[in-house]
Symmetry: C3
Subunit: 115 residues, 3 copies
């Protein structure tokens, strides 16, 4: 069977899982006590770091599911997102507003990337 | 690294992203002011058009995540969905009720297909 | 084009879809009238059975999206989940709280696995 490589494995989840050149990972901001804009910058920086760890970069995103618990955060998120996405390399993207499992987080991103 | 082909690239998202024979795309109805049933027919027609653009058709769906903001729309959506899915080729499917990022839309579909 | 293998095909969905060594499936507990803990054990056992059917096992999970409609269920779910996940093989994982399409269900899991 195909090889599965796991990064940052804990009892509950792995930080990233790679199989057949596709990486699956989920990011929440490191600091859930920061304000929304800081959290949005943070989580996108974390994606950069994760992709670098996996041998890719932000031009390699395939799909991003955005969970944004507060609907009023959408405009601020989009502004930071638009500045971060490399021109010509935007992923497929969906966004819903739903409460997250972990308190305080203003965003959770489910990412599929080619690495 | 594997090739990534993007269709309909904007600053914020791509309409569809293809990598290693797998297509990732998200559809909302073209007209968020239409009634629910019209939106449901519309979004499924858009999937047909997208799959045709990508060299596939509705027998090639792997997984569909359904975001249906109004729980009361489920029966109407299912009736239209059931008539649309080709017999013997139904995808894996999940459905949750959560508010969408964009106002007025009665459905958003996150699609994975083999093309 | 690549081969798509579907298991448990109904008019509305397939129980599992396999393409290029990746399995896509969605599980809700068999008995939505059971208490939450019973439902959580049930749905994880169903994943075991599904993976076995597909020629894999619980070490082959890539990503799991957890829809948990009642936020208060998280601790109980995590306890059962942590005991079930094989050490060193945890998948990527995201969790949101949103109402499910089907009444009574305390959890719905969207699974991607390498088989």
């Amino acid at each position: 069977m195909s090889q599965i490589i796991r990064h940052g494995v804990t009892r509950r989840w792995s930080d990233a899982v790679v199989n057949q050149g596709v990486a699956y990972f989920v990011e929440v901001p490191d600091n859930p006590e920061a304000d929304a804009a800081t959290q949005f910058h943070q989580v996108l920086s974390q994606i950069d770091a994760r992709l670098q760890q996996l041998g890719g970069d932000r031009t390699r995103l395939l799909q991003v599911l955005i969970y944004l618990p507060e609907a009023g955060d959408l405009a601020a998120f989009n502004e930071i997102w638009d500045a971060w996405v490399p021109e010509g390399h935007a992923p497929s993207r969906a966004c819903v507003h739903a409460p997250l499992a972990a308190a305080g987080y203003r965003v959770e991103l489910v990412i599929t990337a080619a690495v």
